[in-house]
Amino acid sequence: AQSVTQPDIHITVSEGASLELRCNYSYGATPYLFWYVQSPGQGLQLLLKYFSGDTLVQGIKGFEAEFKRSQSSFNLRKPSVHWSDAAEYFCAVAAPYNQGGKLIFGQGTELSVKP
């Protein structure tokens, strides 16, 4: 069965510092991977996705993620964090589309940004 692990429950970084949020997945084939961001009480906004091809994917708001099959990882990065990036970040893997394509989420990483 598919699963996603986000090892870091809470991360604090200083504004302007770089950021890396970790995500490990378990999946039998080439996964469809996603990162979503959620502000308190809000919906989930898609930051970026990986389906195939280039393993370094660019997303919105200056985020990028790198798919590493050998490490079963899809870590999210940003070179310089802004205070507005403080939110909850979820990594997700999609079940095969012929099985419905549901998203399986990690536990989430809460990002705090220090001034």
Partner: protein
């Protein structure tokens, strides 16, 4: 750009009452997913529909039912509500894989259900 619409945004019910949550997908999206997010938890898949047919079912209680209508909107019906049903309920929609942008799920703002 049009987004996923959910109504109501907030709902307060008492135990044993019923609730109906509505979801209007992005135009041309034929797949709808429902997720439940408890406080401090990640979203959990409940049920999905493709072309008005149920395509997958997760850990959805028997007290809950859902359907997708001819205009592709979907409704989640919840009966005999329990305190533990208090959560944020998200609807997401997507285009089929194979189409440009297919496979990406776009989430609505959610319905916050409080059961007292």
């Amino acid at each position: 750009a049009a987004g996923v619409i959910q109504s109501p945004r907030h709902l307060i019910k008492e135990k044993r009452e019923t609730a109906t949550l509505k979801c209007y997908p992005i135009p041309r999206h034929d797949t709808v997913y429902w997720y439940q997010q408890g406080p401090g938890q990640d979203p959990q898949f409940l049920i999905s529909f493709y072309e008005k047919m149920q395509s997958d079912k997760g850990s959805i209680p028997d007290r809950f039912s859902a359907q997708q209508f001819s205009d592709y909107h979907s409704e989640l019906n919840m009966s005999s509500l329990e305190l533990g049903d208090s959560a944020l309920y998200f609807c997401a929609s997507s285009l089929p894989l194979g189409l440009a942008g297919g496979g990406e799920q776009y989430f609505g703002p959610g319905t916050r259900l409080t059961v007292t």
